[in-house]
Symmetry: C2
Subunit: 538 residues, 2 copies
Amino acid sequence: MTVVEHDGRIVVIDVGLRFPTPEMVGIDLVLPDFSYLRERAREIEAIVVTHGHEDHLGALPWVLRDLREQGADPPVYGGALTLAMARSKLEEHKLKEVQLNDVQAGEAFELGPFELELIHMTHSIPDSSAVALGTELGTVLITGDYKFDQTPVDGAPADVSRLAELGREGVLLLCGDSTNVDRPGFSPSESLVGPHLEEVFARCEGRIVVTSFASNIHRVQQVIDAAAALERKVGLVGRSMRKNVAIGRSLGHVEVPDGLLVGVREIEDFPDDRIVILSTGSQGEPLSALRRMAYRDHPQVKLHEGDTVVFSATPVPGNERAVNETIDRLFHIGCDVVTSNDAPVHASGHGYAEEVKLMLNLVKPRYVMPFHGDFKRLRLHAQLAEAVGVEPQCVFQGDNGLPLDIDARGRARFGAAEQAGMVFVDGVEIGDVADVALRDRRMLSADGIFIVVATIAEQDGRSVSAPEVIFRGVPFMDEADELVEEIKSTVEASLARAAGEEIREIDLLQQLLHDDLARLVYDRLRRRPMVLPVVVEV
Amino acid sequence: MTVVEHDGRIVVIDVGLRFPTPEMVGIDLVLPDFSYLRERAREIEAIVVTHGHEDHLGALPWVLRDLREQGADPPVYGGALTLAMARSKLEEHKLKEVQLNDVQAGEAFELGPFELELIHMTHSIPDSSAVALGTELGTVLITGDYKFDQTPVDGAPADVSRLAELGREGVLLLCGDSTNVDRPGFSPSESLVGPHLEEVFARCEGRIVVTSFASNIHRVQQVIDAAAALERKVGLVGRSMRKNVAIGRSLGHVEVPDGLLVGVREIEDFPDDRIVILSTGSQGEPLSALRRMAYRDHPQVKLHEGDTVVFSATPVPGNERAVNETIDRLFHIGCDVVTSNDAPVHASGHGYAEEVKLMLNLVKPRYVMPFHGDFKRLRLHAQLAEAVGVEPQCVFQGDNGLPLDIDARGRARFGAAEQAGMVFVDGVEIGDVADVALRDRRMLSADGIFIVVATIAEQDGRSVSAPEVIFRGVPFMDEADELVEEIKSTVEASLARAAGEEIREIDLLQQLLHDDLARLVYDRLRRRPMVLPVVVEV
């Protein structure tokens, strides 16, 4: 999420989310902390979305709902496919009457003190754009995710001439995608993937399963074309695959020959050498179609020896283990597996170092702020900028929440950090669960929990029934009657001691029991499960 | 762990462990399930360890302790360094009087019905061996982990002539390492790493931190040599680094010039360009020295801009995320980072496809059983065996616990599967925690826990004090007084209903409360925390 502010008005570029890492126990999604916007809700002129990927669009329902609570309802701008994806997302969240304004790339228009123009770019989803925001101080250009694909599948390369024109007119600030700055050279064209897929398909005698990102609609098209060329039918498996193909067809991004698609229940009716299955699950996601096939758990598709699975995608960093597990299960049931290490069946959607340099040379910005990358990539991007002649003092390596202030005389420097970071979504709620709940969950997941319930008489604090001991997530306790007995007698002893010392306050009693029991449990198990004493007074 | 059995006697080759994956919540270590050995403890002639890595040696204390409980105390055989590492491990576990028998590679001797010989191999730790077990049916050759390094750092290449001799004499079965069968060609020699390290060092003006596996003693030697050549001192950081260098020096595997090493507290006394820090943490391990440096949390070493960190190791599969996080924190504090993607500062210890073929051609086994790899690698290894002329029906792709039976006439086939798999170590205990405790921990870590304590009168089942509601790991509950009140009134209502229906059995009451409360909590939170009602009768 990038915020551009001028003359008291705000344009927000992209509202993405990320997926949690394993240490974010039990968290479903991670949103950007948009407190800054909440406090300035009424200053927001518009939200502009560069393309339809989750990491640029996924937080939209949460942001819009939150802004509405502040009494603001900003319009959303983007390309037609991008807005179709936004609409589908908003419907899932039952968010109605959002103003979604379809923008044609190349058509500039006024938005408060800004002039907004989308510039057509190429990426791993159609309808991707860079965003130019003109102000009286100059133009800010935000690249979105891009590559310079000279032969894209739909025949519409990035609008380099418009970028060059903007560069000639003068760009004040370029915020550029850093994803692949560490790869030398130029990324391969998406249209090179199709022939390689067809080559791989031609060698297969059994069924073919291709897995890819469902939103990579040009990849889907190329799989369909390769299947058609080899007279195989295509079955779409996985909810998001069917949904995205439907959206892509309705907007003319996918062309499917009549009769080529078969329903998921019909797949098993076709001979193995007459079918291609196009499936979700390229990242090894736990409940995805491919993962279920690999574990022989898919209701409609049963894979077997002689089938070939083509990974037309690479693992997103962090997903390597899940992907490798899926691949190994596929080998175990006798499938062949083809990945981008075996054949060029994937092309990245992000430009490599030479493309980043080309962008810098086209746009000739006064200031550069690399974004969309980890600290390493921001640094490498800065080095590329210096390599093409940007002055080092004009390159700003930022951090989330750190505003770049450009004054009326065009001088730029970092301002004071604003609140920013991550906000967790847990079930339907969002908020700052980071601290106590996550620490508790980590403790519970590491060693489990002991709950001890003691009942004391209100009059004299003596124990009125035998303590209850309950444990969950603590191993080897089936045989541990002895430890349970020890816990019970420790509780009785602690309560007796407390009664003797006239300690009657429930909180104090619970603290006392906790300390005595935690010591005992650690001594016996050499683990530190959560120990939770409950004292009930009757 | 490999078990070779002949004439009622057993030789065990290697006793490794693995580290848990994130879904093994709270588990410390994973051992092989050695129930098969436990039942046959007295038949064990010996345990032979091929080299000193954790995945070949790490389970030794648990296996030995368990066999002792069965009244057996088998001797352990291996090279001098391997046994030094075993000894240090056994001391940590306070296991005394284990017979550790130092074996010279190339010297054959009798072990019950077997003839045992270690064959010197090269790997990423000195003193690595293959194991030849001669029997009256023929010889079984177990490669251990190996590469054919023609120019190893210590000048002692793998004993190819002995392997060839065994091949000429006839080998019945080859069990071969499959780790790098998917890499074409020949692995680079370890001795190529040193000059590249020196090149990288020569370009550095600040401090240099090199991280590598502490057991890779030849790598340590090369770091020391490169530092000495550039007149930098060397500081060893991390417990296992200091321990392994000490063991390596005592056995003559590491030579350190006088005065080169400096203590960890002296590091900050030397100018940045006069010091190399050799550190643990190449895998991004949470408490490792490098990780702490990256998070500015190391008590002695404070990294800063201008320092360079060299990763002289690659991430073990599954560790990519932790390694990338460490690297990015280093970039954040301004360090430069050099990995094997930037310069050849690492060489794998496992042979590539051509080396695996060379092994097969040297040994000319009748049967081949690929091991030490996932299903994918076992398959690729089998394909390599067929490529060099082994008959497909003589290649056995096994699975853990699946015995290969070779009869008196030399015919081989898989027998019935024996108990095998993983056993978890949790604290001091080992055992089958997989089922209930892990499921509970996963549930607790996903959504937390609600505990509700209700107190009822023994006479009539009516509630005698207000229910207690306690939650842990459930987020957003600070403001949820309302939900707590709803829970309490649900408890009262359920108890009243139960009293009306004369339900008095505690288990039934708890079940009833559980169902009512779980429904309420799911309805309000859209999460499924563990709901644990405790009914106390007074």
